[in-house]
Symmetry: C2
Subunit: 388 residues, 2 copies
């Protein structure tokens, strides 16, 4: 079963390689090894176009199998390939957006006769953007576990808490439901612990990261998310933690209130729910990320909240993003995104509004694209929940 | 004060640049920005040899200052440098072990007249390996917070817990003491959530990562650490979480027991304490990482535990490692490491032994190198603590 699944994934990559005349891929970055081999190893998966994939592994030292061989250093690769009866590649792709410049150079130098191309990341991410049925099922289970953790949030709130203290209790709930904790992001710039809990004006604090909302954070070495603000009556709290239960980054936000909020907070929240409803009614194979973004903007503008949509001083320039082994995959729901939805794509849709002196409202769910629409993966009540 | 500190750090990098005839560095990776600018931004710190550093920032959009300018994309850098009255570089260094191959190429292409060198990571990491007094002080505070969290471990243990459940409660204690949670590792291969809690035979399970001990983990997408083992009488539990309270990765391990352990566990633990005592008695400026490693091996061999030192089937090939903004810095205490200790270096020393059917014992503390010895940064009892 798992072997068939891995074959399916590898063949998706092979199909893209064939289009570009690439006859082999050398895969060594963790998320791509999870995708193509089913687990993290320290080593290399050599994926030829026309032969079975071969794993060369440094660690762990207890893996075995017909297509598994030990390796100490990449310079052994050509000899090991010959021992396996494999021809050396003519056009080899490496993970050019993930390997460091120096490591890329070292790996490329192992194949002096080959034309080496840095498009591995791009092609594998394209293959990863359309999930298999097994991957969608792992997302369904993640969404259910994520929802179970959030359902317990009111039980851990205590008056007088800060955003940081509430965040810690929610992190624990997530971990107890099975969250692995680790939050994988593509690219070197964006870092976050398990997610963010934002209240009051901290939701408008600009951060260096390209997440939907910012937050000052607790230290300049990680300037995003909770900043120690006391949770106060009349303010909202948005909980947006990553739900990595099986390697897949499920994404879900819900809003809580400390007591009752001013009416405009409920109006703005409703505008976000309407944006979600209209965007997901439109979403199906063939629709572009740009069209979905414009629909969300249209709904929020009509409701009169355009100035507060996706932040205030520094706004996020998207309303949704593909999710998978990393939190930021294809497709992106943003201006100028001409990529069309395909069945099997999974994305988070997060129309959010930040209201000065109140805080963030809105919604985020994870969705899988079906043959004729979308399926909600994170089933949970969507209204603002009062914590006391 | 902070400006003086940052000047000190930048001048350490400049001194290394001068030795190699490099006249500017372009710094854009998060840990190096924390080091040279004091915080994470999305942008570029341009560090000339002979002029003040200049920050070009994409996000956040609320930074200001004499040497701060907004930027949208790196291709603007040459024009922006000219606007600042800075000459274009002749020999420019980039972070070649941290930037991806594709991003490195994009940045290098912005400076077609310059000789671009990929040694930025190496030089900045060398500068970072010798901490300033302020950095050592942040480590002292981290060590104290780390020790406060571990002191509460007996209070969260409940009979019938698994390693995973105990880990979750300790993670919460660490977070409540101020741990930022995020665990920064140099390189793309090693991933971990907040650290590891290992008990029984799981401590001997080989993992893909080059941490001191392995563990099976809870999912193949993160195969290290706790695996859901029930904590059982007669077995040991090693707690080894990262202590990132101010950006600096403090490192500390302590051992607990469920009831009483077989005598050889206490003997092996004592051998590790002796190894720590002898290694730290030897440690001072001028001593090599190799000499310290050999001393640890010598003590453990004499005690009869060589076969179990640093793991069983798959052994770690070091007994200590530099720590700083990342968990794996210079120096490394391992065979063939000729690098000598210098005042200001900070390292973790972790002699550990894994006993079949019992689990891991040993110790880990963080140490700062002084002018004539070492200072312990993680002050806490070191004996095995029984949890019931």
């Amino acid at each position: 079963m798992l072997q068939n699944e891995l074959k399916l994934r590898r063949d998706k990559i092979r199909a893209l390689m064939a289009q570009r005349g690439i006859d082999a891929a050398l895969i060594t970055c963790n998320v791509n090894l999870i995708y193509t081999y089913g687990r993290v190893v320290s080593g290399y998966l050599y994926l030829p176009l026309q032969a079975p994939a071969q794993l060369f592994v440094k660690r762990p030292n207890n893996l075995a199998g017909e297509y598994v061989r030990p390796i100490r250093k990449p310079e052994q690769l050509p000899d090991l390939l010959k021992e396996c009866g494999l021809a050396l590649p003519a056009r080899l792709m490496l993970e050019g957006d993930e390997l460091s410049y120096n490591e890329y150079g070292r790996l490329a130098a192992c194949f002096p006769e080959a034309e080496v191309l840095p498009c591995g990341t791009e092609l594998i991410r394209r293959a990863r953007s359309v999930k298999t049925e097994m991957e969608v099922e792992l997302f369904r289970r993640s969404g259910a576990a994520h929802a179970r953790a959030y359902a317990q949030i009111p039980s851990v709130y205590k008056p007088g808490m800060t955003d940081r203290q509430l965040s810690i209790e929610i992190e624990r709930l997530m971990r107890l439901e099975g969250c692995l904790g680790i939050f994988r992001v593509f690219g070197r710039s964006m870092e976050i612990f398990m997610g963010s809990v934002l209240t009051g004006n901290n939701a408008a604090a600009p951060s260096p990261y390209d997440f939907a909302l910012g937050g000052e954070g607790l230290d300049d070495s990680l300037p995003g998310g909770a900043n120690g603000t006391l949770l106060q009556a009349g303010q909202s709290v948005m909980v947006d933690l990553g739900g990595n239960f099986y390697g897949y980054m499920c994404d879900m936000s819900r809003v809580y209130s400390i007591g009752h909020l001013p009416q405009k907070a409920y109006d703005a929240h409703q505008a976000c729910l309407e944006a979600q409803a209209e965007v997901t009614a439109l979403a199906k194979p063939g629709v572009t990320g740009e069209a979905l973004y414009q629909k969300a903007v249209e709904v929020v503008e009509k409701a009169g909240f355009a100035d507060y949509f996706m932040g205030i001083g520094q706004k996020a320039k998207f309303v949704g993003h593909g999710i998978g082994l990393e939190i930021n995959e294809s497709p992106v729901l943003a201006p100028r995104m001409k990529q069309e939805l395909e069945p099997g794509m999974v994305f988070a849709l997060e129309p959010k509004i930040v209201l000065p002196e109140i805080g963030p409202v809105g919604i985020e769910n994870s969705w899988a694209v079906t043959s004729d629409g979308v399926e909600k993966l994170t089933q949970a009540p969507e209204e603002i929940v009062s914590l006391n």
